[in-house]
Amino acid sequence: MIITIRHDRYVDFKIPPWASEEQTKKIIKYMEQNFPGIKRREVDEPPRYTGEKGETTSKKWTPKDIVLLFSDLSNEEIANKLKRSKASIDLTRGAKTTEIIAWAKKNGKKMPIGINTIKECMEAKHK
């Protein structure tokens, strides 16, 4: 999060930050206490890109697929190998790799992550 400050001390968010419900409450409370008279206004945000039609049919991720996420291949190369869209790799790679690494660390598994660890992790998560 970046706060911008102009030379004459006008302060702003560089871009509007996202806040959880709890954080929003905290920010509202702070602003109302420190800037009396501040009002709230609810705003409709522009819709976000949620993918093309047809992109949402989910193809199951197998350990063989997932092991590729740990390789040094680019997302584009993995997408070609797995015949999935690049967006699906973009969205899955971060979540799956970090989830499995966190599990592997917690369970004392060896690094780098191999297919057996992935299988074990998937089994443990589905128990």
Partner: protein, 193 residues
């Protein structure tokens, strides 16, 4: 802009973003206090001195901004789940999820090429941040260089068009020059790839 006399408005978006309807005038103490407060809400809070203030406000458009080295470092922290990082950075779940995937891919490939250790095995956060900064610098240079090449291609395309115009008007031109320009353009396009 607020000078203290007009009513301030805190904008609350339906997707969970927050904004002011205009920048807020603060004194030094208020600025300091505001930043300290934000640090209790978010993990990475940086300041930037600016000349022009933002005119678009929440609701006007979708906003996006670059990622800092500290933010990238957090993305690589495997002990943190996406929801947690989302709250820590003030970015949506979707943007963290997406960026994590894209960044990890790019960074893993870059890191291997640079001969650095496996990113997930680096325990020292400062070392990791150093590599991230190198990666960001290189990316920036790459973007600038591609921008320069594109400019050069545009210039050559214009020269090519001019020569073609002359040919179509029946004016004698050095055809060798046209072929040289074509070769230069092809070479530059390969450089971009």
């Amino acid at each position: 802009m607020y000078g203290g006399e007009t009513q301030m408005m805190l904008l609350l978006g339906d997707f969970g973003h927050i904004d002011f309807d205009r920048p807020i005038k603060m004194n030094e103490k208020q600025i300091e206090k505001f930043i300290e407060f934000l640090k209790t809400v978010y993990s990475v809070v940086e300041t930037e001195q600016i000349i022009d203030t933002r005119t678009d406000r929440l609701g006007d458009k979708l906003f996006s901004s670059g990622w800092t080295a500290d933010e990238y470092t957090l993305l690589l922290d495997t002990s943190k789940m996406v929801e947690e990082i989302s709250e820590m950075l003030g970015r949506t779940y979707m943007s963290i999820n997406f960026k994590r995937g894209v960044f990890i891919s790019d960074f893993v490939v870059w890191n291997k090429k640079a001969g650095n250790p496996n990113i997930f095995e680096i325990k020292d956060k400062n070392e990791l941040k150093k590599f991230i900064k190198e990666y960001m610098d290189e990316n920036k240079k790459g973007i600038e260089s591609r921008r320069g090449i594109k400019k050069e291609i545009k210039k050559l395309e214009k020269q090519k068009e001019n020569l073609k115009d002359l040919i179509s008007e029946g004016i004698k031109v050095d055809r060798q020059k046209l072929s040289e320009i074509n070769n230069k353009i092809k070479k530059l396009e390969r450089d971009i790839d």
